[in-house]
Each structure stands twice: as structure tokens, then as C-alpha cells.
């Protein structure tokens, strides 16, 4: 008890020095808290965007993840309606799942006959309403800065969107009225000798438009791919708009279409399959559990299916986490070293100034361990005071930053997320910072405290 009282009063005895030490620790705390809060917010934004785009888990045929990109159709999930039903009816999975939706990957060549342009494309076929629901996920509570307006609907089975880069290449910018997008030079200007391209002879099934009465007036492109059976096949995609992609390579290739159109392209008249089942959970923390349950289910049903989570599907995600973790760790270490040196210096000066006092209390009968305890207590009290103050200041500053209402767009993403420093509501960061600083402060006073404890009474007294 008295030890703490003496420690407390000694801190206020040399106000100037204590204030400077306090300031150093507070600055350390604030830097760690604000940056930690910023990193947390970045990672939350990144996770949210990732989960909104690709869900938490995807189910594939065994081997698709490794080799499927070469020939997606060959790794189709047969009778996927049954698999969907199995998952949907599983008592353990049901409460965890927010969206369960089939998806199909398609690769091929996209062409615009009218403009005589073409290029390879990477296409995703999906159910539009499910995709919209996935974009509303907010499991980390970051809020919705941009709810996508998806220019697709479940009824519009021939409609879709393409990347801005692809629109540019295929000369659809003008037709689609895309801002900041000018159509490329026509093929005839670049290399006039090439023969005109036309996929129309390759169409395996009749396009539905030919049977209907109304003619679709939307801009359109043709998609050419090989069916699972190996025959070339073409479908027409009616363009509803563009969707800009974060990475140029993707933007130049990107095609998003209705699941039905993708299936018509890839499977023709054969059985319509999908390449993946996308699962979005309510909470990211359920990923491991849901994955285990899915594997159990597939094994029990003898299904040759594999489950991957979003960190495997998007390795970039873990790389970003590792990078920010390293930066944060670096900053924390620097701050820690500064705090360490400041406290060691302050406590050493305190020991030096109070040498005669140490001699006195030792003569009065305090053991060496009591002297050590006295100075450790002082470091501890100093740590508690400054860490607490640092937490308050950090919280206050984070509040101000968050009120500014800034947004930013994470790398390779198109959708801005709020720029926030998540300090309040980040108990791990707060507790880690507080206990870390208090422990560091106490630890830093260990050296001076031991020095004080080792003093010989007579030598210490002569310092008077």
C-alpha cells in the first residue's frame, strides 16, 4: 500500500520529468492505437469487399481449384441442384449460411461483329439477385458506402455487363455511353488485310431471339467457347452496362452474364452444370466450422467435392494482412523501444537523485527487495497513468478522424470503403496497447530498480 503511495507521490515530485515521460508513452500509445485502428479498418474493408465479391467458401469438383482454369467445363458439378438442396437442408449449415448460389466460369473469345473486333474473355455466369444480396453483406459492420447497382436481373437471361477495358477493346464504349472510355481504333485501320470475323456459323443452338417477335435493341457481343463435348459454340450477350474492375488485366477480360447464358454456352444441349457453389456466411468466424461441416457432408454423400475459403481463393488477401501486420509490428517495436529508453532514463535519474533516501530506508530496515519493489511500483504507476491517458487521447483522436467521413478504395477493389480508425470497439487493440505499455514500463524500471536494490547502505547514505 505505502509502496504505491510513495511511488505515486514521487511521480508528482519531479513533474517536468514525469510529464515528459508520460508524453513519450502517450505519443507511443496514440501512434500504435491510431495506426492499429487504421489497419483494422483496412483489413475489415478488405475482408468485407472480398466476402461481398466471392463469398466465404466455394465448393468445387475435386481438382478444379488446381486445374480447372484450363478447362472449367470439364470440372462441372453434376446434378448441382441436388448438392444445393443437400447443403440447404443441412441442419448444422443452415443457420450459418446467408447466401448459397451456383456459379460458372467461362473462358473464350468475345467478339463484336459489327466493329470486327474480338479478344479473349474471362467470364462469370451467376444468378443476378444472389449477387446483389451478397453485396449487401456487412458482417463486420463497416456500413455500405456503395451498394452496387447491378445492371442485370434474373428474368433477363441474355443480359450482362463487361469490364470497361473490354468495352473499349470491343468498341462498345459509345454504345454503352461509358464515361472516360473511348473506343479503340477499328481493326481495318490497324491491319486492313485480315479477314472479317464472324462466329455465326458456329452457333450450336438457336439463339432465343430468333424465335421471339421483339428484336433486342441493346448493344451486344458474341461469346465463343468450346462446349464440354468439344464443339465450338457461340451465344449472344446483350450488354446492359459496364462494371469497372480494379486490375487492368481483369478489366480487359471481364464478362459477367446470367448463369443460364453461361450454361448454354458451355454445355449447349447437354446437362447444365456449374463450376462452383458460392457460400456466403453471416459471420466470417464461422468459416472453419462451415467448411468442416461441408466436408463431412460431402464425404457422407460420397460427393467428389472440395471446399476452399476466401483466403485461398484470393491469396492477395493474406498478403495484404501480412504486409500491414509487418508495418504495424515495425511501428509498435519502434514505439516500444522509445518507451523503454524513456522509462529507463527517467527511473535511472530518479534512483540517482534518491540515493540518500534509499540509504535511509534501508537503514530503517527495508530489505533490498523492498527497494526494488518501490521503483518497480513507480514504473508501474507511471505506465498505468500514461497508458490510460494514451488510450483516452487515442480514442478521442480516432473519434475526430472517423467524423471526418473519409473513404478510400482498397487495392484491386473498385468500391470505396469508409476510411476509419477502429479504436473504439477494438478491445483487442485497446487491451493489447494498454497492457503492453504498462508491462513495458514496469519492465523498463526493472533495471534501475535492481541498481537501487544493489546499493550498499553506507555508500548510499554518504550521497546525502
Amino acid at each position: 500500500m505505502t509502496t504505491l503511495v510513495i511511488a505515486w507521490r514521487n511521480i508528482f515530485r519531479n513533474r517536468r520529468r514525469s510529464a515528459l515521460t508520460l508524453l513519450a508513452i502517450v505519443v507511443g500509445a496514440v501512434a500504435v492505437l491510431l495506426f492499429g485502428g487504421f489497419v483494422t479498418s483496412i483489413l475489415f474493408g478488405l475482408q468485407t469487399n472480398t466476402v461481398r465479391a466471392i463469398g466465404h467458401l466455394q465448393v468445387f469438383r475435386q481438382g478444379y481449384f488446381e486445374f480447372g482454369a484450363g478447362k472449367p467445363g470439364a470440372y462441372g458439378i453434376k446434378d448441382y441442384a441436388r448438392v444445393l438442396r443437400l447443403i440447404r437442408d443441412d441442419a448444422a449449415l443452415q443457420p450459418l449460411i446467408r447466401v448459397l448460389t451456383p456459379t460458372l466460369q467461362v473462358f473464350g473469345i468475345a467478339g463484336n461483329f459489327a466493329e470486327n473486333t474480338s479478344r479473349t474473355f474471362y467470364g462469370r455466369a451467376l444468378i443476378p439477385s444472389d449477387r446483389l444480396r451478397m453485396w449487401a453483406w456487412d458482417g463486420l459492420g463497416i456500413g455500405n458506402t456503395s451498394l452496387r447497382q447491378l445492371a442485370m436481373s434474373d428474368d433477363d437471361r441474355d443480359g450482362g455487363v463487361i469490364g470497361v477495358g473490354l468495352a473499349r477493346i470491343l468498341h462498345e464504349c459509345a454504345a454503352l455511353k461509358v464515361l472516360n472510355c473511348t473506343d479503340g481504333p477499328s481493326e481495318a485501320d490497324v491491319s486492313p488485310d485480315l479477314p472479317a470475323e464472324d462466329f455465326s456459323s458456329l452457333i450450336e443452338i438457336d439463339p432465343p431471339a430468333s424465335s421471339g417477335a421483339a428484336v433486342d435493341r441493346r448493344p451486344k457481343i458474341d461469346l465463343l467457347a468450346a462446349t464440354v463435348a468439344g464443339a465450338p459454340n457461340v451465344v449472344t450477350l446483350q450488354l446492359n452496362g459496364v462494371e469497372r474492375q480494379g486490375a487492368k488485366e481483369l478489366d480487359d477480360n471481364y464478362v459477367l452474364m446470367h448463369l443460364d447464358l453461361g450454361q448454354r454456352l458451355l454445355y449447349g444441349r447437354g446437362e447444365h452444370q456449374v463450376t462452383g457453389l458460392v457460400i456466403q456466411l453471416h459471420h466470417s468466424s464461422d468459416v472453419a466450422g462451415a467448411r468442416r461441416e461441408l466436408r463431412r457432408l460431402f464425404a457422407a454423400q460420397g460427393l467428389d467435392l472440395d471446399v476452399r475459403d476466401y483466403t485461398e481463393l484470393n491469396p492477395f488477401y493474406l498478403q495484404v494482412i501480412a504486409m500491414f501486420g509487418a508495418i504495424f509490428g515495425f511501428l509498435a517495436v519502434i514505439m516500444g523501444v522509445i518507451v523503454l529508453f524513456t522509462v529507463v532514463n527517467t527511473m535511472s535519474m530518479s534512483v540517482m537523485e534518491r540515493t540518500a533516501e534509499i540509504g535511509t530506508i534501508r537503514a530503517l530496515g527495508l530489505r533490498r527487495s523492498g527497494v526494488r519493489r518501490l521503483f518497480l511500483a513507480e514504473g508501474l504507476v507511471l505506465g498505468v497513468l500514461s497508458a490510460s491517458l494514451g488510450l483516452l487521447v487515442g480514442l478521442g483522436l480516432s473519434f475526430l478522424v472517423n467524423r471526418a467521413g473519409l473513404t478510400w478504395t482498397p487495392p484491386t477493389s473498385v468500391d470505396p470503403v469508409p476510411l476509419r480508425v477502429m479504436v473504439a470497439g477494438n478491445p483487442l487493440l485497446l487491451a493489447g496497447c494498454w497492457f503492453g505499455l504498462v508491462a513495458l514500463s514496469a519492465l523498463s524500471s526493472l533495471l534501475p530498480a535492481n541498481k537501487a536494490a544493489r546499493l550498499e547502505v553506507v555508500d548510499a547514505l554518504r550521497h546525502g
Binding site: T2, G359, R362, A363, L364, G365, L366, R367, V458, G464
Partner: protein
């Protein structure tokens, strides 16, 4: 004053030094502090150690107080051979049995007069009510009762030394050691402090060993030990004067 030849009876001895030497090492040079010094101090006496500067007074008091170890010989206080105690046990022994009064008062600056006097009782874990009773009684006895809340820097030198006397006596020690307690005080205040120490010594029936150059101090002595060059050269007993 006459030279005494008879020693006090052994049961009444509080301090017994036998052939105590203390050699300080200054680098490679050995500086003699005390040389084969033997003496005995009786229970409940007021003893004064006199001697010129550098004669070894402080060294002697440090050895008696158990805050320094002799290079040779034995130091016994209240029947306990201090040489046989480890560091912690010696600290505990001091906490229970020995009071210190210093030349520069050495109060703990962040503690009030009351808390300074209370401090030794916290070291020996005396119960709160008993602490309060003893501290107040002693503060009143040394004439500081009305200033118990003051910090040392709000008090004069004389007042501080009064607090220090109360602090030394509060644990009811068998022995109080005071190294030149009046050296930092003007002579009038010094005289008051010496009178107070003597009064308290009689009242508490404890032994005081005081080193001093001050003739006022020597007047109070039951016994006076004169040392020079680390050796006891004279011992006077007032009772026989």
C-alpha cells in the same frame, strides 16, 4: 570525570564490539577506518563518541548499526552477533531494534511528518490502531503534534530533527544511533535537540549512541568514548565523576 576500570555487568550490555577493525579499500590503497577496537555500551545509557574528524566515529556507528560489516572482529547488539546475519535478516534486525538519527535529518520528502514516523511501523507490520497511537504519542512528545501533516520541506531543521527522533523511537528500539545530529543546526536549536534526545532516552529507557564534536552533547553523556585514528583512547563515565 574519572577513568573507569570496571565494565558494566554483561546482562546490561547492549552493544559489544570485540577487536573490530575496518579497512576501506580505495583502489589498491587500504585506508584504515578502525583498528582492533573493543567496547561495550550499557543498557539505557546515553553514550557519546567524540574524536577529531576522520577518527572513525561514523565508521564505528555504521558497524554498530549493522549497515556496514567489519573487516575483522565481532559486533554484537542486544546479544545478537550481527556478523552471523544475512542481508535480509540484518535489515529485519534493524527494523525491530535500531533507530537512526542522521546529520541531515533524512526524512522521506514525499511523506508527511506523521507518515515519516509511521514508516518504521509499516516495515514491522504493526496494526493500524497501534500505529496511530504510537505515532501521535511520539509526535506530541517531540513537540510536533500540531504539525503532523506537514511535509519535511515545510519544516525547519530543528523540527525535522524532532520528527527524525520520533521516527527513531517509534519502534521502541533497544538502541538509537545518531551521527552528529546537531551538526546541521544552529547551537540554540542543537541544544534543544540534544536536551530532547536525552529526555527521550530517559523516558523510553533505551540506549543512545551519539557521535559529536559538540561540547553541548558531551555534557549530556553518561559515558564518553574518545577515539582517534580508529582506536579507542579514552572512556569516561559521568556517574563516577
Amino acid at each position: 570525570m574519572t577513568r573507569t576500570s570496571s565494565l558494566p555487568p554483561p546482562g546490561d550490555i547492549v552493544v559489544r564490539l570485540r577487536d573490530v577493525s575496518k579497512t576501506y579499500l580505495l583502489g589498491a590503497v587500504a585506508v584504515p577506518g578502525l583498528h582492533e577496537l573493543s567496547l561495550e555500551i550499557g543498557r539505557a545509557t546515553f553514550s557519546v563518541i567524540v574524536g577529531p574528524s576522520g577518527s572513525g566515529k561514523t565508521t564505528l556507528l555504521n558497524l554498530i548499526g549493522g549497515i556496514d560489516r567489519p573487516s575483522a572482529g565481532t559486533v554484537e547488539v542486544a546479544g545478537q552477533d550481527l556478523g552471523g546475519l544475512g542481508d535480509d535478516r540484518r535489515s529485519d534486525f534493524r527494523a525491530r531494534n535500531i533507530g537512526f538519527i542522521f546529520q541531515s535529518f533524512n526524512l522521506i520528502p514525499v511523506l508527511s511528518a506523521y507518515e515519516n514516523v509511521e514508516y518504521p511501523l509499516l516495515l514491522t507490520r504493526v496494526a493500524a490502531a497501534e500505529r496511530r497511537r504510537r505515532v501521535m504519542a511520539l509526535l506530541d512528545a517531540v513537540g510536533i503534534g500540531d504539525q503532523s501533516r506537514r511535509r519535511p520541506n515545510q519544516m525547519s531543521g530543528g523540527q525535522r530533527q524532532r520528527v527524525a527522533i520520533a521516527r527513531a523511537l517509534v519502534k521502541d528500539p533497544v538502541l538509537v544511533l545518531a551521527d552528529e545530529p546537531t551538526a546541521n543546526l544552529d547551537s540554540r536549536t542543537g541544544a534543544q535537540i540534544i536536551a530532547l534526545m536525552h529526555a527521550m532516552q530517559t523516558r523510553c529507557r533505551t540506549s543512545f549512541v551519539v557521535s559529536s564534536h559538540d561540547p553541548q552533547v558531551m555534557e549530556q553523556a553518561d559515558e564518553t568514548f574518545t577515539i582517534r585514528d580508529g582506536a579507542l583512547i579514552d572512556r569516561h563515565c559521568r556517574a563516577t565523576s
